[in-house]
Amino acid sequence: MSYLSARGLVRSYGRTPALRGVNLDVEEGEIVAVTGPSGCGKSTLLHCLAGILRPDAGEVTYRGRRIDTLSEGARAALRRTEFGVLFQFGQLVAELTAAENVALPLLLAGTGRREARTAALSWLDRLGVADFADQRPGEMSGGQQQRCAVARALVTEPRVLFCDEPTGALDSLAGEQVLGHLVRLAREQRTTVVLVTHDVQVAAYGDREIMLRDGAADPTGLGTVAAQQ
């Protein structure tokens, strides 16, 4: 049984279909890139896999347990404890410092403030942004903000990390730095990564590439591309 799998996922926004029966299997510790043109349903697939959205039909299982039928609260708890989520931008709390942003998931889990700050500083250091620990997001560059976001996504040491166009708002150099850190740390921790991107260079960081077209895995057979790295 796969670590994370989707079977026959269907999801629409009003009358507009986003997913039309997607099947997907991801193994533990694997880095999978989901690619495809804009509007093909990549982000919707990721949101369904992460329990952010509930599919209209089909099922999502994580470590053999069906998660799409869980309550909103249970799915939120899963995202808080087992999953990490990384978006393109706008995920850091503007008023909190970098260290407080990274410490936030630990505080939510009940960790003490001092302990949470120590862990946050350690992660900021691993991502090369320790000097910005007491700066707010507005005082940092896009790349530095995104590295903080990576630190926040990984600070709870999640089993699965979902990344939605994590370098979409960055220039190529900053994007490479962020992805380099992300992939290195994920491999160190054996974290499973599902990476949504429209950029083939970003997709090359994955072990495997899934191509979506019009809300379904590419029917031409190009849907699954074997290991790139």
């Binding site: 992460a50 939120a76 899963l78 706008g90 505080l107 939510l108 403030r113």
Partner: protein, 481 residues
């Protein structure tokens, strides 16, 4: 830019822009009604009647007695404070989408001045519309309420109309002031083709508003001694005393409102220092990042409470004075009472009317608070949705919103009521003396507690409504926007 183009661009908006225009118009209409009512009271003709100047054609003493009418005028004008504050909050409604529209217009070649002119025109047109509706309601209401009783006396001054140029001044003044206010609100905003940049004050607020409160208290404390010194022309000295009194009230009220920024920052700092939960951390940092938010959003509520606290103090002072008078009369003639119950009823009836006006003001101020809170939540919806997506429970965000709304409000409410009561005491003193009977004026704890509880209940209700917006704004579909 041709005027037609300006109007077209000003009115080209989304649903939230339409709501903003409607609420701005409503505020302008209410303000027009209040100002026209105040002007109508001012132009009531009076006749000399042994005891003083009166207008016998009216049923209620508040309008019939010339000496009481300035109070009615002041209350009507004060009612416009929360109304105008509501208009100010409405100007923020849908601000992000308006900002995007203005940026797009800049990208198409408009100058920064033209972009600001478009925003100001939108507010101006909404105000003109509201003023016209208010004017219609005023004249329609006059017809509807013109109901003389069997003695031919009227309940309201529906038999007089202010001079045309006064009415014109109101109808022109309100839209012009609204437009100026819109421009003023945009003074810290740079509209560029790539987006709207808001310059925020990062400096922590200083406690100087406390000095303003002290100046206000000192000014009101000098009114009575000054009136004893000025024994010349009563009209001239009366005007001077009124100016001193209004300056004192104004200084103290501005001190309370701006002091809320300092209170917000300090309470945020304390919450950050000692708070342990994520919700308090989020709220504390938000309070510290924008401490002036409390001043802006709570201004009308706090102004109402300063006047409410003052009114409660004046009522307590009058009640003590009546009691001293009654005791003095009983001492000289144990069987007689000088003050007829009817007279005290009249005064307390007037105070009740003032309380009703303050209550109406609080309700309108609460309306402004709802708009401000909803807008602040909606404008941060993507960040909230991202937090929820990463597993932050909605209850944590709700608690953070509650803390950041309630903490500055609770502190501000206490300060406002205390300053209001202190103003009354500095004006009338802490004791009254009637023919050797000296009584201490009690602090109207019950009235102040009632006002405070009412204000806290209003803020809680506002937070409750705001949390409904939070629920909608943290919908994970926001991540797709």
């Amino acid at each position: 830019m041709k005027p037609g183009t300006l109007v077209r661009l000003a009115l080209a908006g989304t649903r939230s822009d339409t709501v903003r225009v409607a609420l701005t118009g409503l505020s302008a209409g209410l303000a027009t009604l209040a100002y026209l009512a105040a002007l109508t009271v001012i132009v009531i003709p009076t006749v000399e009647d042994g005891g003083g100047r009166v207008s016998p054609q009216y049923r209620h003493a508040l309008i019939a007695e010339a000496g009481l009418r300035p109070g009615v005028v002041v209350v009507l004008v004060l009612l416009t404070v929360p109304v105008l504050a509501l208009a100010g909050q409405c100007a923020l409604l849908g601000a992000p989408s308006r900002d995007r529209r203005l940026s797009a217009i800049r990208l198409a070649g408009a100058s920064p001045g033209q972009a600001i002119a478009i925003a100001a025109t939108e507010t101006g047109l909404a105000s003109v519309l509201g003023t016209v509706v208010g004017l219609g309601a005023y004249f329609g209401g006059r017809e509807f309420l013109h109901r003389p009783d069997a003695d031919g006396r009227l309940p309201l001054p529906t038999d007089v109309v202010p001079p045309v140029w006064w009415i014109a001044a109101v109808c022109v003044g309100i839209p012009v002031v609204a437009m100026l206010f819109a421009v003023l609100q945009l003074r810290r905003v740079a509209v560029t083709p790539f987006g709207v940049v808001r310059r925020v004050r990062t400096r922590a607020p200083l406690p100087w508003p406390g000095a303003l409160i002290v100046v206000g208290l000192i000014a009101t404390a000098t009114v009575v001694p000054l009136s004893r010194q000025l024994e010349g022309d009563p009209e001239e000295s009366g005007a001077l005393l009124l100016v001193v009194l209004l300056c004192g009230l104004g200084c103290a009220t501005i001190g309370v409102v701006t002091g809320t920024g300092w209170i917000s920052y300090r309470t945020g700092w304390l919450m950050h220092r000692f708070g342990r939960r994520p919700a308090t951390l989020l709220a504390a940092r938000r309070l510290m990042a924008d401490p002036w938010s409390g001043s802006r959003t709570l201004a009308a509520l706090l102004a109402c409470l300063v006047f409410g606290g003052g009114a409660a103090g004046v009522r307590s002072s009058f009640a003590t004075d009546f009691e001293a008078e009654r005791l003095a009369a009983q001492r000289s003639d144990p069987s007689g009472v000088i003050i007829e119950p009817r007279d005290t009823d009249f005064y307390f009836g007037a105070f009740n009317l003032v309380n009703i006006a303050i209550g109406v003001g609080l309700v309108i101020a609460a309306g402004g608070l709802i708009v401000a809170l909803a807008e602040s939540i909606v404008s941060r919806r993507r960040a909230y949705a991202a937090l929820v997506a990463t597993g932050v429970p909605r209850s944590t965000l709700a608690k953070a919103v509650m803390w950041q709304s309630l903490v500055p409000a609770a502190a501000g409410i206490v300060v406002a009521l205390a300053v209001g009561a202190a103003l009354s005491q500095s004006l009338f003193g802490d004791e009254v003396e009637r023919e050797g009977i000296v009584l201490e004026v009690p602090v109207p704890v019950d009235d102040l507690a009632l006002l405070g509880a009412g204000a806290v209940a209003a803020v809680l209700a506002v937070v409750g409504v705001g949390l409904l917006f939070l629920r909608a704004s943290t919908a994970l579909e926001e991540l797709r926007v």
